[in-house]
């Protein structure tokens, strides 16, 4: 456990030294700040637009941070040969993967905490109560944690460019997985329908973690939904990290 914590902290330190992260954060905060001036263009709805823009900025720029930082986590260590030094220590490969993932989660948590706080302040300055947005921001973190798990998985066996493409595709597919449900109803053959059902069940369904609309319109989530959504994200991410560890265990570096 100490090894995982040490790798996580090191990953976090390394990531926050990366200028790209600050650029992403600055753009996200600037976007949230600028959204306050949207009132010049609209008729009513100023607070709603600030909330929508803020939540989407947190989500999209969080995704960019995940992709930029996450995809090179493992592959950079291999490329620089630092992985050999690290694995020569009494560190198991799964500890290395889990440490990297935990470090990425710390980066995400810090970035979402900063942008989330900026949004809450922007909404409060508009005279509205910002606290209804907190569950949506929390689930954005869970969603990005799941995407980050895929980034680590792809990073464990391929190069950064392919890993970035794979992570972005995961995000897109995660938001379109409902289409397999739709496709299943139109499939003529039984085999196709089974395949659609399996894909719908197995692929990550990121829309289940998306409660932005409810938060913006102050609509209460159904009882137990928030907890179930967090559990879905946590267990799914755990499964992906286990697979990433298994893949990394079998990887040969020569």
């Amino acid at each position: 456990m100490r090894a995982v914590a040490a790798i996580a902290l090191n990953t976090f330190r390394e990531a926050i030294r990366d200028r790209i992260l600050y650029l992403i954060l600055a753009v996200a905060i600037a976007l949230i700040a600028v959204s306050r001036f949207v009132s010049l263009l609209t008729v009513g709805s100023e607070v709603k637009i600030v909330k929508d823009l803020g939540l989407s900025a947190i989500s999209v720029f969080g995704l960019l941070a995940t992709v930029f930082v996450g995809v090179s986590l493992v592959s950079k260590e291999i490329e620089r040969r630092t992985v050999f030094t690290l694995l020569a220590q009494p560190v198991r490969r799964w500890q290395f993967v889990c440490g990297k993932y935990a470090g990425l989660l710390l980066v995400l948590a810090a970035s979402i905490a900063v942008t989330g706080a900026a949004l809450l302040v922007a909404v409060a300055l508009k005279g509205a109560s910002p606290w209804g947005l907190v569950p949506a921001i929390a689930l954005i973190f869970v969603e990005l944690a799941l995407v980050a798990a895929f980034a680590v998985l792809f990073s464990s066996f391929t190069n950064p460019i392919l890993a970035a493409v794979g992570t972005a595709v995961t995000y897109v597919v995660g938001h379109l997985s409902w289409s397999f449900d739709l496709l299943e109803k139109r499939m003529p053959g039984a085999a196709g329908r089974v395949l659609c059902r399996v894909l719908h069940a197995v692929l990550p369904n990121l829309d289940r973690l998306n409660v932005k609309a409810e938060a913006v319109h102050d609509i209460a989530l159904p009882a137990g939904y928030f907890g179930a959504a967090i559990a879905y994200g946590v267990f799914y991410s755990l499964a992906v990290i286990v697979i990433a560890s298994l893949v990394f265990e079998r990887r040969e570096f020569v």
Partner: protein, 279 residues
């Protein structure tokens, strides 16, 4: 020499870009007023490809629509208002209420299409049954064109929505009276009087309206019966009681103060001083 070449190339590039830009601005100015609305897919499809950011896409389209419909140089710009606000923005974020009323105002006030405006407000209320403001606005739109019975129905719908102020039922009663159904209007003002949510001021208004409408309704009933008597007998009745005997009225009404209505048998005209007293 290389620096000079680079500077020359840079100057040529800047000049070329500037000339091209000026040409584009000129062409666009010439086309002004004939710009077609770009094809905008249904919100259902946009929602599918918005990757979880449908409310933000709805905001973007709402802002764009406000700017587009604020440009009075656009010819034929009202053709797609219902599509933009109803099929696209409302599908992307059905709980976004501002586009329903703004779209409806554009449709009824500028495009002069009352039915399309009401359709948009109906759609908004069907998707947001707590937003009484939508049928409330529909009620005023109907009032503006003199469709009072329809306006009363909209105010009734608004008044029944959760959290709606009880004053909406006063508007319903008022519109019913404007529509000409005086007995129905009196019954609705009595509902206002019986509603425990109303304060003394609202009750005083209801009492005055019931008094005024009762006089109007009685005079109208009496005048109708006198006219029927005149058609049947060739002359007006000598006394109002003759109308009861002729089966034209169940009884002769008294005014709200309990006094009989004044009757001029020579001219066949009935009147009351109670309709000039507002209590």
């Amino acid at each position: 020499m290389r620096t000079l070449t680079a500077a020359g190339l840079l100057a040529a590039a800047v000049l070329g870009a500037g000339v091209a830009r000026a040409r584009i601005v000129h062409i666009e100015d010439e086309r002004r007023g004939r710009k077609e609305l770009l094809f905008l897919p249904n919100g259902k499809y946009l929602k599918a490809i918005s990757l979880g950011h449908a409310p933000l896409v709805a905001d973007g389209l709402y802002l764009w629509a406000i700017q587009y419909y604020s440009d009075y140089d656009q010819a034929d710009r009202y053709r797609f208002v219902e599509h933009v606000f109803g099929d696209v923005i409302a599908e992307l974020d059905p709980r976004y209420t501002d586009p329903y009323w703004l779209g409806a105002i554009i449709l009824t006030t500028e495009a002069k299409d009352l039915e399309a405006g009401l359709r948009l407000l109906d759609e908004g209320f069907a998707k947001n049954p707590q937003e009484w403001i939508l049928p409330y606005l529909a009620g005023w739109e109907c009032d503006r064109v003199g469709q009072y019975a329809r306006a009363a129905a909209y105010f009734d719908q608004a008044g029944r929505a959760p959290g709606a102020p009880p004053a909406l039922f006063r508007l319903k009663a008022g519109m019913t009276a404007l529509g000409g159904d005086l007995h129905e209007a009196i019954a609705r003002w009595r509902d206002v009087l019986d509603d425990p949510r109303n304060d003394d001021a609202a009750r005083a208004i209801a009492t005055r309206q019931i008094r005024r409408l009762t006089v109007r309704a009685d005079l109208r009933d009496l005048e109708g019966a006198i006219e029927a008597y005149r058609e049947r007998n060739g002359h007006p009745p000598r006394r109002l009681e003759d109308l009861v005997r002729a089966g034209l009225l169940p009884s002769v009404p008294l005014d709200p103060d309990g006094h009989p209505y004044a009757y001029d048998s020579a001219r066949g005209r009935v009147s009351s001083i109670a309709d000039r007293v507002l209590g």
